[in-house]
Every structure is written in structure tokens, then in C-alpha cells.
């Protein structure tokens, strides 16, 4: 696999008009590790994730992928060129909550598209690599299916294949299992665990506390646009020092507990 990259975020601020979505967020994402972003909805964790590949423009601060600033030529300077941004995005895979597969293309075409248009591979080579990526997520037999003919879990695995086929150095997951029926969550998490075991740098926004607790190397808790705490799963889940984290986990447990 290509070298896993680190991500360094320093004092990130982001505004939507007068609303401040991110306040001075600083977070180090170590290479080859899984970092989960958790917190209540509206806390800014998805926004932060989307800033990493500059789908969302941050207004102040710096985000560096292996030391390379993304989005701007210099900190606080002009926007970087589209070409340069695309080059950086090649190294950053992204998986969305709603899968966002292209519905008019087969699973194979969805994965091969980037290999052809971005990496410039000839059709046959792109399709061979796409097939390999689909094999890896366990969908080698579904290459000819259009997204409408795949379950949600299968669609999300195609979306993961689309991202890993580009051989990224960082993978971003934006609530990858939130749109799935409960019984389909497992197959997607299994593929993510496999990726983690291979040493991919992963940043995962998730409500799957089990995944965060068992797979993540680091967990960061956000609330109201602020990073409240970051640490090992044990530090965050077992004995959280901050009252806000305790309240969040408490309501989570209450929602998910049931007795018969």
C-alpha cells in the first residue's frame, strides 16, 4: 500500500454567515491509525471532516496533509488552483453517508471512472483495477450491477471500493453507516476494519460507539463547533473528564439500552 499520511489541523475556524460552525479546532490525525470523530449532531464533526479534502472551505487556520497545506497557496492566502486541489484530493478518499454512487453507471464503472479520468489509465487497466477493488470489498460478483440493484450495504461497499481504488493515503468516512438498515451495518464496518488493519489512515465521523470503542486508535469528541477532548477510546469512553462527554454517552446508552 502507498504510504499512509498524517493530517494536522491547526486552529480551524469556519463560519456560515454569522454562525460559527468550527471554533479553533486543532487535531492531529496520526498516520496509519483510525481516528473517530464523535459528538451530538450539529457539533461540526462532519464539517471538520469535509474541510480535510476542502469540500468545505475553512475560513481560518491550517490543514496539512503530510505537511502540505490544502485549499490555500499559503496560510490565510489565496485559494489554491483547481488543478493543485485535484492533485491533493487524489490522495484523500471519501465515503459519504448517502453513498453518492453515480446511478447511471454499473458498480464497475463507478470504481473505474476515477482511475480513467484522474489517473489516466486506459479503460482495460482501469477496469482490471476496479475489479480488484470490488473483490476486496467482497463484491466481485456484483460488478455489472447498477446501484439501484444493490442493497444499501453493497452500495456503500462500492463507494469504499471507489475510494480505495485510487490508492489514497487518507480515507475520510462521513457517517458511513447512518443511512443503512441496522442489519447491513456490519458488512460495511467489517470492510472498514479490514482497511484499518492494513494501516490506512482513517478519519471516521460516526455514531457507532462500538466501532469507535473497539476499532479506533483515537477518539475526538466535538460539541458546538469545538473540540472538547481527544484521546484513546479508554480515555474518552471509560472515564471521561468532561461533563459534556458524560452527558452525550449517557443519552447514547439510554437510547440503545433495552430490557425485556
Amino acid at each position: 500500500m502507498t504510504q499512509a499520511a498524517s493530517v494536522d489541523m491547526t486552529r480551524i475556524n469556519k463560519f456560515y454567515g454569522p454562525f460559527q460552525a468550527l471554533r479553533d479546532v486543532s487535531l492531529h490525525i496520526p498516520p496509519g491509525k483510525v481516528t473517530c470523530l464523535i459528538g451530538p449532531s450539529g457539533s461540526g464533526k462532519s464539517t471538520l471532516l469535509r474541510c480535510i479534502n476542502f469540500l468545505e472551505r475553512y475560513d481560518a487556520g491550517e490543514i496539512r496533509i503530510d505537511g502540505q497545506l490544502i485549499g490555500y497557496d499559503t496560510p490565510g492566502g489565496r485559494l489554491m488552483s483547481g488543478r493543485r486541489l485535484r492533485e491533493m484530493r487524489r490522495d484523500i478518499g471519501m465515503v459519504f453517508q448517502q453513498f453518492n454512487l453515480w446511478p447511471h453507471m454499473t458498480a464497475l464503472q463507478n470504481v473505474a471512472e476515477g482511475l480513467e479520468r484522474v489517473r489516466g489509465l486506459p479503460r482495460a487497466e482501469a477496469e482490471a483495477q476496479a475489479r480488484a477493488a470490488l473483490d476486496k470489498v467482497g463484491l466481485g460478483d456484483k460488478t455489472a450491477n447498477h446501484p439501484a440493484r444493490l442493497s444499501g450495504g453493497q452500495q456503500q461497499r462500492v463507494a469504499i471500493a471507489r475510494a480505495i481504488a485510487m490508492q489514497p493515503r487518507v480515507m475520510l468516512f462521513d457517517e458511513p453507516t447512518s443511512a443503512l438498515d441496522p442489519e447491513l451495518v456490519g458488512e460495511v464496518l467489517a470492510v472498514m476494519k479490514q482497511l484499518a488493519a492494513e494501516g490506512m489512515t482513517m478519519v471516521v465521523v460516526t455514531h457507532e460507539m462500538g466501532f469507535a470503542a473497539h476499532v479506533a486508535d483515537r477518539v475526538a469528541f466535538m460539541e458546538r463547533g469545538e473540540l472538547v477532548a481527544a484521546g484513546t477510546p479508554a480515555e474518552i469512553f471509560a472515564n471521561p473528564r468532561d461533563e459534556r462527554i458524560r452527558a452525550f454517552l449517557h443519552s447514547y446508552h439510554e437510547r440503545n439500552a433495552f430490557e425485556v
Binding site: N53, L55, G82, R86, E87, R89, R90, I92, G93, M94, F96, Q98, N100, L101, W102, P103, H104, E113, G114, R117, V118, H146, A148, R149, A159, R162, A163, M166
Partner: protein, 219 residues
Amino acid sequence: MELSVLQQYGPMLLRGFGITVFCWLAGTVLSMALGLMIALAQRYGPRWLNWLLRAYIEVIRGTPFLVQLFVLYYGGPLVGLRLDALPAGLLGLTVYGSPYFAEIFRSGFGAVPHGQIEAARAVGIPEPSIVRRILLPLALVSALPALVNFSIILTKETVILSIITVPELMYQTQRMSTETFRYLEANFVLALFFWGLVETISRLGRRLEARVTRHIERG
């Protein structure tokens, strides 16, 4: 009704119908192409261009085709634009249809989920490829019924070309009427031809729709 006059005028009416179909086809293709360019320019161009095109759309949509054609054909020579009837008619149809098509494409673009465009950007696909490979195909699928609908409307707008002497079906029908006083028969034939044309287009449109949506909606 006395349909025997058709023996004499039939070939002429048929030629007229041929020209009608040609004008419709060329006018539709050209105005659709221009409409697409307008919609793309509005989406990706600078703000001043968007404003200019918006004005163009409002002016053309706000005036009758008949008036536009008069201005083009009889007013054109005053500014050095001297066109024969047929090219003038095609240019007129193109200008007249383009804003409607532009609006249809704009709503088609709007129907493409933004996430699918973002996914393409996240992969690093260049914007022109995103337009060609993802935005356009998906926009076309959702815009197809409206595109077919407006193409059908355009079939009947071609009759207006008769006032600038394009020898299409309406023109020939009027000639037959004034020469034979068979107004009813002439207009009956006219209606029949148009109905046949529209029915054909509408069937083709439905077939095309079924074809392009076969993978997109769960079958």
C-alpha cells in the same frame, strides 16, 4: 368535404410537410443545443454573463414568436442581416426555443443530487469531465419528459414560418385554400399531418424515457 382536390395538391402538401419536419428537426436540435450552452454558461460562467443571459431569456420568452420572426426577417436587412426565408426561419426557431430549453436544462441540473457531484470532486475528477460524464447524463434523464414536451410545442410553432414565406405545410395549405376555396379540406389535411407527427414524437419520447431510466429507477 371534397377530398378529390388532394389529388392535385397532394404532392405539394407532402413537400410542405417535408419542409415542416425539416424545420422542426433542425430548429429543435439547434435551439436545444443553444439552450444547453446557455444553461451551462449560467451555471459556470461569471455573474455578469448570467445576468445577461437571464435578460435574454426574459425578453425572448416575453415576446411572441410572430413578432420575433418579423423583426428578424424584415428588420434584419436594416442592420445588414439579409437572410433567405428558410435560414431566417431556422434562426428564428433557434432563438425562440433556446430560452425554454435553457430553463429545462437548468431545472435538470438542479435535479442532480449535489452529493453525486461532490463525490466526483472528492475523487479528483476535473470539472469538464464531471459535466460530461455525470451532470449531463443525469440531468438529461430527469429533463427528458420536459424536453420532449417542448419539442412537441415547437412542431406547431413552425406554422408561423409561413408568414415569412417558408414553403412549409401551412404555407402550402394556405395556397391551396386560396386557389380552390377548399379551406376545410386543406386545414383537415394540415391537422392530420401534425397529429401524425406529434404522435410519432411522443411515442419515440416515451420509448427513449423508458430506455434511459431503466437502470436508475429500481426495476
